[in-house]
């Protein structure tokens, strides 16, 4: 039976991106040896998909397609925008780095697009199997992308480590799906069991959900499943780290919101408390370890663990403020973290050594604009108003306090103080140090333009959060 045309429209952004990825593979073969237009096709595809999602799905509430396998509109649309933004920022950052004909440029952008399509599939999943398909599509792209600098040892290490651990996590997730199916007889998310009433063996459902949660916690990089994060984010090419830490994290959080919807968490208080403890542990561990880092990329990696903790507290809250906060936070985080990695990407040397704080000393004199942008991203990550990072924290903590998890909010704000220390360290070396470091802006305007747009968006969403909140309110 051919699905009605509405179904195809529901996945239009996905089709556009997958189509663009295929075109890249074709075109890349034609342009062998010369500068490939892959990056432009990727950027155009992502922009087209975002526009498509915004104008077709933006105003519609969530609706089912493909017999309930896909849930498009509302929620999926918002996440599609986040993913396309993450992909677009990362692709442009990658484009601004490569000189001349880089090896395998076509594959790089094609994989990125496949990754984005996987993410979109996750966020629009109406069934656990579809969700799993999306997750695998995304993860497989990540495994390859992480190892893309194949002459650099750390990049290889990142790919291998991510692959081995990721395969494990996938196993957990899949086993969880199997158990949920065993307990309820369905993998559909529409009639997902919010309670244990009527189940023959509720403990199987609990076990299944616990395993699902484990898999998702691995993907968001929350404690205690965070060990891969620093090595992978540090080893992967920097634009890929930006992509994984923003789009990949957002996709996994879409999974949290789909599978562990408020009603489900309310019915499983044990899991909810586990999640709360994991959120607190992520904030504490991520922030405290980040203080000790000398490589900026590694610092950002640990800080991303902490941010996973902040966002998780919005999930734990399981109320309107918490869920809206998660969505808002993910958009803000995509902008600020991609921006922060973007700064690293522009400044780091080509030989693959890690950018340290010392190298950035006195940057504000050599490249004032870049230093100012880095300052914006750091203040936003630290959660200082008026940037969007602050409002994101405010919303998720509002959700947590309303849900009675005041201790989680207190942990979060105390750890934010710790985070201010290491984020501001970059500002200190850039602005307050007189002895010059070696890192400087390489003069190519594309990367700088990307960062300027991200910074303006951060300030804009920060001062006028209602722009995003109007969209998030239609998601549930």
């Amino acid at each position: 039976m051919t699905p009605p045309i509405g179904d195809w429209a529901a996945i239009a952004p996905l089709l556009v991106i997958a189509g663009a990825a295929l075109i890249i593979i074709l075109v890349d073969a034609l342009f062998a040896g010369t500068r490939s237009p892959a990056s432009f096709i990727a950027a155009a595809g992502l922009a087209a998909a975002a526009a498509c999602a915004f104008f077709m799905g933006g105003p519609t509430p969530t609706f089912a397609a493909f017999g309930g396998m896909i849930r498009a509109g509302g929620f999926a649309t918002y996440f599609t925008l986040v993913f396309c933004l993450s992909g677009l920022l990362s692709a442009l950052l990658a484009r601004s780095r490569s000189r001349g004909t880089a090896h395998g440029e076509g594959e790089f952008y094609a994989l990125m697009l496949f990754g984005v399509s996987g993410m979109i599939l996750m966020a629009s999943a109406g069934d656990l199997i579809v969700f799993f398909l999306g997750l695998e599509l995304m993860s497989l792209s990540f495994y390859v992308l992480a190892g893309f600098d194949r002459r650099r040892m750390t990049s290889n290490e990142a790919a291998l480590k991510y692959f081995l651990l990721g395969a494990f996590a996938t196993g957990f997730l899949l086993y969880g799906i199997a158990l949920v199916y065993g307990a309820t007889g369905s993998t559909g998310l529409a009639g997902f069991p919010v309670g244990t009433g009527g189940l023959h063996e509720p403990r199987i459902l609990l076990a299944g959900l616990a395993l699902l949660m484990t898999g998702l916690m691995f993907k968001v990089g929350a404690v205690p499943f965070h060990m891969w994060v620093p090595d992978v984010y540090e080893g992967a090419p920097t634009p890929v780290s930006a992509f994984m830490s923003t789009g990949g994290k957002a996709a996994a959080f879409s999974g949290f919101l789909i599978v562990f919807a408020p009603a489900v968490l309310m019915a499983q208080p044990a899991l909810r408390n586990v999640l709360a403890v994991a959120a607190a542990a992520s904030m504490v561990a991520g922030n405290i370890i980040a203080v000790a880092q000398s490589s900026i990329k590694r610092m950002l990696a640990y800080s991303s663990i902490a941010h996973a903790g902040y966002i998780l507290s919005g999930v734990v809250a399981a109320n309107s403020a918490g869920s809206n906060g998660v969505l808002y936070y993910l958009m803000a985080y995509t902008l600020m973290n991609a921006g922060a990695f973007g700064v690293v990407s522009i400044l780091e040397s080509e030989d693959g050594t890690m950018l340290t704080f010392d190298e950035c000393a006195g940057l504000s004199r050599r490249s004032p604009l870049l230093a100012a942008l880095a300052g914006v991203f750091m203040f936003s990550l630290a959660g200082v108003p008026p940037f969007a990072g602050f409002f994101g924290k405010y919303y998720v903590f509002t959700g947590a306090v309303e849900a009675g998890y005041t201790w989680l909010a207190i942990t979060g704000v105390l750890m934010s103080v710790v985070s201010a220390y290491y984020y501001l360290r970059l500002v200190v070396v850039m602005y307050f140090n007189d002895k010059p470091g070696s890192a400087a802006f390489d003069g190519r305007p594309l990367g700088l333009a990307v960062l300027i747009i991200a910074a303006i968006a951060l300030a804009g969403f920060g001062v006028f959060p209602s722009i995003l909140l109007g969209m998030t309110a239609r998601c549930f």
Binding site: V384, P385, V417, V427, V428, Y431, F432, S466
Partner: protein, 523 residues
């Protein structure tokens, strides 16, 4: 214009900062002039505000309210009473003076400096205007960014340490306040028919219902944040570092205006929202205020560095303000309000004077000076007037504030003992000791150091900086009613509100034993 006067005052410096950031880098004269014009513009508007303000009314005036984040009931809600009015005028008065004082001493990265000073002004003005706690918090945190850069870029040797300490200390306190703000909002939502809100006036209305056990935690969270800012002993340790390392203009704004944000926060939030907790902690806080008075004075006495001496004297003076606030009498509170202004003027001027001598000699150590009165008679005269104002000589402004505070705390039924006032008055004597003693060592005696003999006296620009301050020091000393009458009705209605709310919370506790259990649910 009448309805939007507050926004005009608030956004004049913001517009100035944006325009200055776009000016060409090399045009130093243009940048300085533009900064001056915008800060004078804000001053002119606030003078208009001062004249138009109706001192007979105790409610909020010039209120503006525009929805901002409707889903959380956050609005751009501003308005002032007499207390905010005086602090706004103080802010707009000191900023142009600070800019004028750094006219020559700041040469590197001038554009950023002037723009940040204006942003700092806007941030503090926003704090004094906000009638929505969320809006207040945004300004409160935002103002850290410009101050952080001002200390960190244009500060002294240890500026990095001082800047980070300043930032982290303040942030640690204020983030706990953020949790308390969120809690208040969600408490409003938990009431029958209520919704999440951060609107201050709406929170005032529900304040009597806040369970007493929770009030204590809320009060502590808010007070911690304000106590760090004021600073109340023993949370003052960031202050000497920040003050000594900051450039002169930064110190002037820091001491003159930023510290008042803490005392203002006590008056605007802690007391009226959590009166039960206020009365419970009042003896301790008044006690800490007194410890601050004596400690600050004693430590000032032994400082070899003039700037550090002035910094510690701030701790002492702010102790008086805290004592006056927690006396919860009209005299005490009026005294605290006027003392905030006095401290802004006299300590601001002391920092300016220390900066002027530092510009000439590049040292602030008292032992490097001696006999300066001979080569610099004008400087010595200004220093004398300002110092006497700081000591509290009758006829100058300091006396008015300290007298009212001591009177208020002596008579306070809530403090319940005259000993608070008696002990605090020792601080007045100590202030005379450390200031007169340092004055003697700097200005009198033999001028033995050849470098000190060739010192030039104040320039016309420096006199122009100091004259307005001295003018108001004398004005407040001779005729304080010009200013006191603006805030009289506001302090009266504040005390009235505190007592009403307090009665309300006792009534609530009596009629609803469930109040305690609700508190249990939330934690």
């Amino acid at each position: 214009m009448e309805q939007h006067i507050l926004s005009l005052i608030l956004f004049t410096p913001v517009a100035g900062a944006i325009i200055i950031a776009l000016l060409p880098k090399g045009a130093a004269r243009l940048i300085r002039t533009a900064g001056m014009l915008f800060s004078l513009g804000a001053l002119a508007l606030s003078v208009w505000l001062f004249l138009a303000f109706d001192g007979a009314r105790g409610d909020m005036q010039f209120v503006e309210k525009v929805p901002w984040i409707p889903s959380l009931d956050v609005s751009y809600h501003t308005g002032i009473d007499g207390i905010s009015l005086l602090l706004i005028v103080l802010t707009t008065f000191l900023t142009p003076l600070a800019l004028l004082a750094s006219w020559e001493s700041i040469t590197v990265r001038l554009r950023g400096y002037v723009a940040l000073m204006l942003l700092l002004e806007a941030g503090t003005l926003g704090v004094f205007m906000a009638l929505d706690i969320f809006l207040f918090y945004v300004f409160w945190e935002f103002m850290l960014i410009p101050m952080y850069f001002i200390i960190g870029i244009w500060g002294g040797q240890e500026r990095i340490y001082a800047a980070i300490k300043f930032f982290l200390y303040t942030m640690a306190g204020s983030l706990l306040m953020l949790v308390a703000i969120i809690w208040l909002g969600s408490y409003a939502a938990s009431l029958p028919g209520g919704a999440f809100t951060t609107d201050l006036l709406r929170l005032y209305a529900i304040a009597p219902g806040i369970p007493m056990g929770v009030q204590v935690w809320m009060f502590l969270a808010f007070t911690l944040s304000f106590a760090i800012k004021i600073p109340i002993f023993p949370l003052h340790t960031w202050l000497p570092d920040a003050h000594v390392q900051a450039p002169t203009a930064g110190s002037v704004i820091l001491a003159g205006v930023l510290l008042k944000m803490g005392t203002y926060g006590l008056l605007r939030f802690c007391l009226p929202l959590f009166p039960y907790a206020t009365f419970r902690f009042l003896p301790y806080l008044a006690g800490l205020g007194i410890v601050g008075i004596l400690y600050g004075a004693l430590v000032s006495m032994v400082q070899p560095d003039l700037k550090k001496l002035v910094a510690y004297s701030s701790v002492s003076h702010l102790g008086f303000v805290v004592l006056g606030i927690f006396a919860i009498t009209e005299e005490g509170m009026q005294g605290s309000v006027i003392q905030m202004i006095n401290h802004g003027l006299s300590t601001g001027a002391l920092f300016l004077l220390v900066g002027m001598i530092y510009d000439r000699r590049h040292t602030r150590m008292i032992r490097d000076f001696g006999g300066l009165a001979r080569p610099m008679p004008v400087f010595a005269t200004f220093f004398m007037i300002v110092m006497l104002s700081s000591i509290g000589l009758p006829g100058l402004n300091g006396f008015v504030g300290e007298f009212l505070i001591l009177l208020g705390s002596f008579r306070s039924a809530f403090l319940g003992s005259p000993w608070y006032a008696v002990t605090a008055s020792v601080g007045v004597i100590l202030a005379a000791v450390y200031l007169l003693w340092s004055y003697q060592r700097v200005f009198f005696g033999k001028n033995e150091n050849p470098e000190n003999r060739s010192l030039t006296d104040l320039t016309g620009r420096e006199i122009a900086v100091l004259l307005p301050v001295v003018f108001f020091i004398v004005w407040i000393g001779v005729c304080p009613s010009t200013f006191l009458e603006k805030s009289a009705a506001s302090t009266k209605s504040l005390i009235h509100r505190i007592e009403e709310t307090r009665r309300g919370s006792y009534a609530h506790a009596a009629e609803a034993p469930g109040g305690e259990s609700r508190e249990g649910d939330r934690r």
